[in-house]
């Protein structure tokens, strides 16, 4: 009995075209393993070195801020609130006052009343054993410690508000996009109402009002009570004012997905509305949501800085990058680092997140046009 072996059925490759040779080579390797969209996205992302580097920078900033208590305790030996007004520090072996005494004296030559220069300790750049690396502020507090603690607050508010914003936007947009009709009308008009106000002005108005009295809502079943200086106040304010900026584009996508066959099939199978929304539609907008989240964190950090700078965000003496810039501006000519350093921190964080967000968008869906506009 004649048998056909692989070898005997193999044609002489030199006689075949390149395409066919490639197909045959593929066949030898065996069946191609399927790849999920997430894996493909990850593969695209990991080739985007710029995005990865940006992520690394952001994570570095986060790590530094998370380790703020360690730095404060072990390196700077203080906390962000302690006033070292009359303290002295050894800088390169020389005793220096954190805030000099100042005062007046009578000029012996002219008899005029003269003012003594007041020196507030500038950056010691590690020449004081880790104390006052970025100098002191007008209350004698360690600027480097406040910068790191400020970063914690800014990042917490930025990430927290982004999370709340995205959750609310997804929820209401799913309702609007799926149900359509009156529900869509109500939610869309609510978006329009919020969108009608300039974001910064609306955030300032609400933030300033709540910063004074805080929140004390008795909702029957439970009570929400937040003091004016609570970090939840700016978190809630920022997440509230930016819901439409994510909600509207998501609603558009959901409206389009609603008409797809897989949704019709799910309906035909008798799946309930919420099941369809969360198991059929939501996974299809997940990539957009992820990209929005990354971009909105950067946006919210900027907004928090603006609110805090204007006194409607984080309340003193709690530090945030925005309050540090605000506090430092009075000394912009004599101690510019007080405003420049937190400003740079904001820029680095926002830029790194934006670049990473762009990279994530390109990786998840190169055709997507996801952006947040004001």
């Amino acid at each position: 009995m004649a048998t056909e072996t692989r070898d005997s059925t193999r044609a002489d490759v030199s006689d075949l075209s390149l395409d066919t040779a490639a197909v045959l080579a593929e066949e030898e390797r065996g069946p191609i393993e399927g790849r999920s969209p997430w894996y493909l996205a990850w593969r695209r992302l990991r080739r985007n070195y710029v995005a990865l580097f940006s992520l690394f920078v952001f994570l570095l900033i986060v790590a530094a801020c998370v380790l703020a208590p360690v730095y404060a305790d072990r390196v700077a030996h203080t906390n962000p609130y302690t006033n070292h007004v009359t303290d002295t520090v050894k800088v390169s072996g020389k005793k220096v006052s954190v805030i000099s005494a100042g005062g007046t004296f009578t000029d012996p030559k002219t008899g005029e009343l003269r003012v003594k220069a007041v020196n507030i300790l500038g950056p010691t750049w590690w020449h004081a054993g880790g104390r006052f690396v970025l100098g002191a502020d007008e209350n004698g507090r360690d600027n480097a410690v406040r910068l790191l603690y400020g970063g914690r607050n800014s990042l917490m508010i930025g990430v927290g508000s982004a999370l709340i914003c995205v959750i609310l936007a997804v929820f209401f947009s799913l309702l609007a996009g799926y149900y359509g009709g009156t529900v869509d009308w109500i939610i869309t008009r609510a978006y329009d109402l919020i969108w009608a106000f300039p974001v910064i002005l609306l955030a300032i108005a609400i933030g300033a009002a709540l910063a004074i009295g805080g929140i004390d809502w008795n909702l029957g079943l439970f009570r929400i009570k937040l003091a004016g200086e609570s970090l939840w106040i700016p978190t809630i304010v920022i997440s509230y004012v930016l819901v439409p900026y994510i909600g509207r584009p998501l609603r558009g996508q959901i409206l389009s997905l609603r008409e797809k066959e897989f949704v019709e099939a799910a309906i035909a199978q008798g799946a309930g509305s919420f099941r369809i929304m969360f198991t059929e539609i939501l996974p299809n907008i997940a990539s957009s949501v992820l990209v929005f989240f990354a971009l909105i964190v950067a946006n919210n950090i900027l907004l928090e800085a603006a609110l805090s700078f204007l006194g409607a965000g984080v309340q003193p003496p709690n530090p945030s990058w925005g309050t540090l810039i605000s506090d430092g501006q009075i000394r912009i000519l004599t101690a510019p680092w007080l405003t420049v350093v937190p400003g740079l921190a904001i820029v680095l964080t926002a830029v790194s997140l934006n670049i990473f967000g762009d990279g994530l968008r390109d990786a998840l869906d190169p055709r997507a046009k996801v952006k947040i506009e004001h």
Partner: protein, 559 residues
């Protein structure tokens, strides 16, 4: 006014007239307007007697005024503005130095006739007086103004409760105050007091006592300015942004209320100290009300020495401690705060332009006797907190958003945390800060406060700020709600003293010590201040720093 002053006046007017005629011939119009209008009275201690008018004096304020209503405003910003807008029956000389505290008639013809028992004051209104809107000023307008103070819950009501019938009126806010009679025909005003009161003439010179047109609504008129009697009227007002004073066309100057130099005064609110300083340096403004940032002060003096003035008004900066709110209802806690604060550290927060103090009265007062009851001792403070059972008690430190308030308040918050309390900071906009903490409903526990004298008498401190009988529900000035029966009684007794003799002064000094032993306050510094002008301003003979009202806008002139 003296014969010497009158002859000087005639010579001044003649010289000015000749000077202006020569100037007009040389220049032919345009530029600075040196007019030959009536010159002001001479006075000791600085200030030019000639009128040197110019179009607009531009001021940068650090915060909006609390009100632009003479019945409600009780801040330095408000009074420094309205001193030249709303005249009272009496006023003060527009001169620098101690002479500035000399009482003079303003709307009245003369200083009052005071009866032998010190309880009846008789004054006569000057004839021909008109408000800025042309209405005649009547004697009954004074009575109306006093009644209005009670109707609007003015912070100044306490000054007038000694007038017969005022207490009764304050209960219903209806009817009459029997102790004030006014005859519009003759201009006679008679005020009868329940008890003699040593500072009543000074009270008649406060802006609270300024007559307003009868019928002025009994509510805040800041945005619809009340017609004025002074050299200026409020032309426009944008709360927390700007207000403009223009010449009152119906004002007639006298020797005691001289004509003014700027035709217009524009006050802009610029909250940032550094920005305000830069505006004046750049010539965008003429006067900076702000304190100069401490780290720039020496440099500013170096470069712009002749534009900078340093002065010390009678003031005390302190932390109030509300005795109606735990834990400050306990003496030990209040004493702990006094021990805990390092007054020398607080001096540094003001760039050294301050002196530490534990006294209520400032050192310029003859009744001032320095005491040292609370040397800085954190350990002792912690011990007192523990003894009072106040460890871990939550406390809110109130402050305004001005740096000069926020910095010491942040310091206090840190110190309170160090001694075992759980303190947080509450920052309020400066323009509403005093009304907020002066409202009992706020229940402010502890916070920043300061006081600048209204007139040079201890009553202005103890009676206004620490007399428990003068605590009010709103616009309260006794932020500590300090209410000690013995102290109240002593104040009441000393209030009837007509003269400040050595014995009376000693009693005031003892009272200062007594109140501080009971830790009614935590005073910490008496501050020095700066006035900074643009290069165009004549800071020589035109600069008057008044002992009560600080820099006198009305007398400044250009170089």
């Amino acid at each position: 006014m003296t014969r010497r002053d009158r002859s000087t006046l005639v010579v001044s007017v003649a010289a000015l007239t000749i000077g202006v005629a020569l100037l007009a011939a040389a220049c032919g119009g345009g530029g600075n307007k040196s007019s030959a209008s009536t010159a002001g009275a001479t006075g000791a201690g600085g200030g030019s007697t000639e009128q040197k008018t110019f179009p607009n004096f531009r001021i940068v304020y650090d915060t909006g005024t609390d009100y632009l209503d003479p019945g409600l405003s009780y801040t330095v910003q408000g009074w420094e503005t309205m001193w030249n807008v709303y005249l009272s029956l009496l006023g003060y000389k527009h001169v620098a130095g101690p002479d500035g505290a000399t009482l003079v008639p303003a709307l009245a013809q003369d200083l009052p006739d005071i009866s032998a028992d010190g309880k009846t004051y008789k004054l006569k209104l000057r004839t021909g007086l008109k408000y800025s809107d042309g209405k005649a000023v009547k004697a009954s307008d004074f009575k109306y103004a006093i009644k209005r103070l009670f109707q609007i819950d003015s912070p100044g009501v306490g000054f007038f409760t000694n007038i017969a019938g005022a207490e009764q009126f304050s209960k219903t806010k209806k009817g009459d105050i029997s102790g004030i009679t006014a005859n519009d025909q003759t201009g006679d005003i008679t005020i009868k007091l329940v008890k003699p009161q040593g500072d009543f003439q000074n009270i008649l010179a406060t802006i609270f006592a300024a007559p307003v047109p009868t019928g002025t609504p009994p509510k805040d008129q800041s945005t619809t300015p009340i017609p004025s009697t002074g050299p200026y009227m409020i032309q426009s007002y944008k709360p927390n942004r700007q207000f403009v004073l223009a010449r009152n066309p119906n004002f007639k100057s006298t020797d005691d209320v001289p004509a003014t130099n700027p035709d217009k005064i524009t006050v802009k609110i610029v909250e940032d100290d550094a920005a305000a300083l830069q505006q004046v340096i750049n010539g965008q403004a003429d006067y900076d009300f702000h304190p100069i940032p401490v780290d720039r002060l020496a440099d500013v003096q170096q470069k712009y020495g002749d534009q900078l003035k340093i002065y010390t008004p009678a003031n005390t900066y302190y932390f109030f401690m509300n005795t109606r709110q735990a834990p400050f209802d306990k003496l030990q806690v209040r004493q702990a705060v006094n021990y805990a604060i390092d007054r020398n550290a607080l001096v540094r927060l003001y760039g050294g332009l301050a002196t530490p103090t534990e006294n209520i009265l400032p050192p310029t007062y003859p009744q001032y006797k320095k005491h040292n009851l609370y040397p800085h001792d954190l350990a002792k403070a912690k011990q007192l907190i523990n003894q009072a059972g106040a460890k871990g008690v939550a406390v809110t430190v109130w402050t305004s958003n001005r740096d000069t308030a926020k910095k010491p308040a942040a310091y206090l918050q840190d110190v309170l945390n160090q001694i075992g309390l759980k303190a947080k900071l509450k920052v309020i906009d400066a323009s509403i800060y005093w009304t907020t903490i002066g409202n009992q409903a706020t229940k402010a526990q502890v916070g920043f406060a300061d006081w600048f004298q209204d007139y040079p008498h201890p009553l202005d401190w103890f009676d206004v700020l620490l007399n428990g009988d003068r605590i009010t529900q709103t616009h309260n000035n006794n932020y500590s709600n300090f209410n000690d029966a013995a102290v109240n009684s002593t104040i009441g007794k000393l209030k009837t003293e007509a003269d400040l003799t050595d014995s009376v002064n000693q009693q005031w000094a003892t009272l200062d010590n007594t109140i501080m032993k009971k830790a009614g306050w935590a005073p910490y510094v008496n501050r020095q201040f700066t006035d900074f002008f643009s290069s165009k301003i004549n800071t020589g003979d035109c600069y008057i720093n008044h002992v009560l009202y600080q820099f006198d806008f009305s007398r400044i002139c250009m170089k």
